[in-house]
C-alpha cells in the first residue's frame, strides 16, 4: 500500500507491505525496519528499529489523530490512487460543514441562512457545562443552511450548518 502522509505541514511518502510474517516499510524511499502489533482496538505497539512506541489512534472526519510519548499528531493519510483522494481536493472549494466539537445545547444562532460570512466569523453558540463556545465558519462564503435552532441539543460531530 502506498500513502501520501502529511503531518504539521510536512509531506511524506509511505509504502507499507505485508507478507505472511513481516511488514515491509519505505519512508520517502528509505527502507525502515518495523513491526506493529494491535493490542486493543485503537492501540498499536509499533516497533521502528529498536524503538518501541505505544500508539493510540483515532480516526477523525478528514484525518487520523495519533498519540504517543505525550504528543499528539494530526496526520492526513491519502491513498494517491483512490477516487476519494481526487474528489477531496475539490471539496476544499465546495460546501464545508460546521460540526459541533462536543455535546451541548445551541443557545444562539448568530447568522441567518443566506448571509455572507468571513472565515472565522461566529455562526452559532454552543453551551456545555455552563460555558459558551462560539463555532466559527471555516471559510469565507454564504451560509447555505442552518440545521439547528436555539435550544437544539447536539452531540459531538453533529452538523450545525453548511457554508459554501
Amino acid at each position: 500500500m502506498k500513502y501520501d502522509v502529511s503531518i504539521g505541514g510536512n509531506h511524506y511518502q509511505l509504502e507499507l507491505g505485508r507478507d505472511a510474517s513481516r511488514w515491509s516499510c519505505h519512508l520517502d524511499g528509505l527502507e525502515v525496519d518495523v513491526d506493529a502489533i494491535p493490542v486493543r482496538p485503537g492501540v498499536l505497539s509499533l516497533r521502528v528499529g529498536h524503538e518501541i512506541y505505544e500508539v493510540k489512534c483515532e480516526r477523525k472526519a478528514d484525518h487520523v489523530q495519533v498519540w504517543f510519548r505525550g504528543e499528539c499528531y494530526a496526520a492526513e493519510v491519502r491513498d494517491p490512487r483512490s477516487l476519494r483522494a481526487r474528489t477531496r481536493a475539490a471539496d476544499d472549494h465546495g460546501p464545508r460543514k460546521l460540526t459541533a466539537p462536543m455535546s451541548g445545547k445551541i443557545v444562539r444562532v448568530l447568522i441567518r441562512e443566506g448571509s455572507e460570512v468571513d472565515a472565522g466569523a461566529g455562526v452559532v453558540v454552543v453551551e456545555a457545562m455552563k460555558m459558551q463556545n462560539e463555532i466559527k465558519s471555516p471559510k469565507k462564503g454564504t451560509v447555505q443552511k442552518i440545521l439547528v435552532n436555539e435550544g437544539t441539543a447536539v452531540n459531538a460531530g453533529d452538523v450545525l450548518a453548511i457554508v459554501e
Binding site: 500500500m1 500513502y3 502522509v5 503531518i7 504539521g8 510536512n10 511524506y12 509511505l14 507499507l16 505485508r18 505472511a20 510474517s21 513481516r22 511488514w23 516499510c25 519512508l27 525502515v32 518495523v34 513491526d35 506493529a36 502489533i37 494491535p38 486493543r40 482496538p41 485503537g42 492501540v43 498499536l44 509499533l46 521502528v48 524503538e51 512506541y53 500508539v55 493510540k56 489512534c57 483515532e58 480516526r59 477523525k60 472526519a61 487520523v64 495519533v66 498519540w67 504517543f68 510519548r69 505525550g70 504528543e71 499528531y73 496526520a75 493519510v77 460540526t99 462536543m102 455535546s103 451541548g104 456545555a128 457545562m129 460555558m131 463556545n133 452531540n155 459531538a156 460531530g157 453533529d158
Partner: protein, 515 residues
C-alpha cells in the same frame, strides 16, 4: 456502627466513599440523576435510588429527594462528599430532623465557618493570625477608603458568601477602589445572592497552605499535616501536595496548633480543613475553613497512613479519635493531579462526551481515584473532574518521578483532558524546586508552549498513521451512536468493538510469529 450509608454525591468521591463503606462492612446506597444510571458510583453500590433530572438542583442538590431516598432505603447515615450539599447547613439540620446521621460537622459549626466575615470575627476572638483587614462587610465607600489607607495598598475585596474567585477584586491604587467595590458587590450578588463584600490586605503571590484537622464528638481535635495547594488556575486548584515544600516541623506545629484552635472555636467535629495564606516571609494568615472532606484529601492519607473517610464514619458513629497528636507522623511525599475533561487548547473549555479509550496507570506509589470508565459518556451537567492521580514516594523527587511515569501511561481518548498540563507543571524547574505560589500556573500558561517533537518522532507518527489506516484498526470518535446520552446503553459501540477485535485477531495471526 452504621449498617447502611447513603452517599449524597456522584463521580470519583462517591466511588471513594462507597469503597470505604465496603471496606468497613457497611452497605452503600447510591443516588443518581437521569444521566448517571450507568455511572461508576452506581455500579459499585449495593443499592441505588433515582433522584430526578440531570440538573443538580433537581437531583444532587435536592434535599427532599435525597432524604426521601434515605428513608426509603433505610440508611443510618448520609455522607455528603464534597461540593453539592456537603456545606449546606440546612441539609445537615434536615438530616437531624429526619433521624439520619450527617457524616460531617454540625449545622451550627457549618454556619459559623460558612460566612467568611463571621468566621474572621470568630478567629479574631480566638487569637488566630488574620490577613490585616476587617472581618465585617464593608458598609460604605468611605469606610472602604479609610480601611484601605490603614491597611495599605494593594488590597483585596472578597465576597463574604462564597469563593472560587467570584466577587474578588485586587485594588492596587485608591483610584480603582470605587469601581472595584461596585463590580465586586454586583458579581457577589449574582453568584451567591449576597452582595456583602469585605476587605483584606492583598498578599502578592501568596502560597496557599491548608491544614487538615479532625475532631471527634467528644472534644478531641488534632491536625494531620498540611497540604500545599498553590498550583491554581483562575483560583481553582489543579495540583496539590503534602507536605508543603517550605513548611518545616516548627511551622507545621504552629499552623497545626492554630488550626486546632480554629476547630475548637467553631465547635467543630469530623473532618475539616483550615486554609491559610503564607507570604514570602513565611508568615501565615487564616483565610477560611472548609467544613467538609476536600477533593485533595488523598495526599494527606498517603503521608499519614490514615484513611480519612474511615475516620469520618467512625467519628460520626460516636467513636473517639483512635490516636493522639504525637501519634501522627508525616512520612514521604504525595502529589495529586486533578484530571479534568477540559480542552487545554481552548481555554480549558469543558469537554463532555464519550470516553472511547481509557488506559489507566498503576504500579509503585500510584493511587488513582477515578469516577469514569471506558465507554462512559461524561455528562455536561456537572463539574468535569474525571479522576485524581496521586503519586507517592519516600521523598518529593521520587513522588514527582512516579507521577511523571504514571502520566506517561495515562490515556483518555474521545474527550479532551488536561493530562498534558501536568507534564508541563512537573517538568517546570520552579515546580521541581518547590518555588511556587498562587500565581505560578497562570504565569506558566501565559508563556507559549514550546514543543516541536523531533524528526524521529514525526517519522514514527507517519508510520503509525499509515499502519492504522492499513489495518483498519482505528476507533471512530465521531460515530453519533457513541455520543448518546448516558442513559442509552452502549450496545452499538460494544458490538463494533467485538467486531474490531475479531478483525485484529485475524490480522495478528497473519502477521504472526516471526521467530
Amino acid at each position: 456502627m452504621f449498617k447502611k450509608i447513603l452517599i449524597a454525591n456522584r463521580g470519583e468521591i462517591a466511588v471513594r466513599v462507597i469503597r470505604a463503606c465496603h471496606e468497613m462492612g457497611i452497605a452503600a446506597v447510591a443516588v443518581y440523576s437521569e444521566v448517571d444510571r450507568a455511572a461508576l458510583h452506581v455500579r459499585h453500590a449495593d443499592e441505588a435510588c433515582p433522584i430526578g433530572a440531570a440538573t443538580a438542583s433537581e437531583s444532587y442538590l435536592n434535599v427532599p429527594k435525597i432524604l426521601d431516598a434515605a428513608k426509603r432505603s433505610g440508611v443510618d447515615a448520609i455522607h455528603p462528599g464534597y461540593g453539592f450539599l456537603s456545606e449546606n447547613a440546612r441539609f445537615a439540620q434536615a438530616c437531624v430532623h429526619a433521624g439520619v446521621k450527617f457524616i460531617g460537622p454540625s449545622a451550627a459549626a457549618m454556619e459559623m465557618m460558612g460566612s467568611k466575615t463571621r468566621a474572621r470575627q470568630a478567629m479574631e476572638r480566638a487569637g488566630i493570625p488574620l490577613v490585616p483587614g476587617a472581618a465585617s462587610g464593608l458598609e460604605s465607600f468611605e469606610q472602604a477608603e479609610q480601611m484601605a489607607a490603614r491597611v495599605g495598598y494593594p488590597v483585596m475585596l472578597k465576597a463574604a458568601a462564597g469563593g472560587g474567585g467570584k466577587g474578588m477584586r485586587l485594588v492596587r491604587t485608591p483610584k480603582e477602589l470605587t469601581s472595584a467595590l461596585e463590580s465586586a458587590r454586583s458579581e457577589a450578588e449574582r453568584a451567591f445572592g449576597d452582595a456583602e463584600v469585605y476587605m483584606e490586605k492583598a498578599i502578592i503571590n501568596p502560597r496557599h497552605i491548608e491544614m487538615q484537622v479532625v475532631a471527634d464528638e467528644h472534644g478531641n481535635a488534632i491536625y494531620l499535616g498540611e497540604r500545599e495547594c498553590s498550583i491554581q488556575r483562575r483560583h481553582q486548584k489543579v495540583l496539590e501536595e503534602s507536605p508543603a515544600p517550605i513548611v518545616d516541623s516548627e511551622i507545621r506545629r504552629k499552623m497545626g496548633d492554630a488550626a486546632v484552635r480554629v476547630a475548637k472555636a467553631a465547635g467543630y467535629s469530623n473532618a475539616g480543613t483550615v486554609e491559610f495564606l503564607m507570604d514570602e516571609q513565611e508568615n501565615f494568615f487564616f483565610l477560611e475553613m472548609n467544613t467538609r472532606l476536600q477533593v485533595e484529601h488523598p495526599v494527606t492519607e498517603l503521608v499519614t497512613g490514615i484513611d480519612l473517610v474511615h475516620l469520618q464514619i467512625r467519628i460520626a458513629a460516636g467513636e473517639k479519635l483512635p490516636f493522639v497528636q504525637n501519634d501522627v507522623q508525616i512520612r514521604g511525599h504525595a502529589i495529586e493531579c486533578r484530571i479534568y475533561a477540559e480542552d487545554p487548547d481552548n481555554n480549558y473549555f469543558p469537554s463532555p462526551g464519550m470516553i472511547n479509550l481509557l488506559m489507566e496507570p498503576s504500579g509503585p506509589g500510584i493511587r488513582l481515584d477515578s469516577g469514569v470508565y471506558e465507554g462512559w459518556n461524561v455528562p455536561m451537567d456537572y463539574d468535569p473532574l474525571l479522576a485524581k492521580l496521586i503519586g507517592y514516594g519516600s521523598d518529593r523527587v521520587q513522588a514527582i518521578g512516579r507521577l511523571r511515569r504514571a502520566l506517561g501511561e495515562y490515556f483518555v481518548g474521545g474527550i479532551k483532558n488536561n493530562i498534558s498540563l501536568f507534564r508541563r507543571i512537573l517538568h517546570h524547574p520552579d515546580f521541581r524546586a518547590g518555588k511556587v505560589d498562587t500565581g505560578f500556573l497562570d504565569r506558566m500558561l501565559k508563556k507559549q508552549n514550546s514543543g516541536q517533537a523531533g524528526t524521529k518522532l514525526s517519522e514514527a507518527a507517519v508510520i503509525a498513521a499509515g499502519m492504522f489506516v492499513a489495518m483498519g484498526a482505528t476507533v471512530s470518535a465521531s460515530d453519533p451512536a457513541n455520543a448518546a446520552s448516558g442513559s442509552k446503553n452502549n450496545s452499538g459501540k460494544a458490538a463494533s468493538g467485538w467486531k474490531g477485535a475479531g478483525r485484529i485477531e485475524a490480522l495478528r495471526t497473519n502477521i504472526g510469529s516471526h521467530s
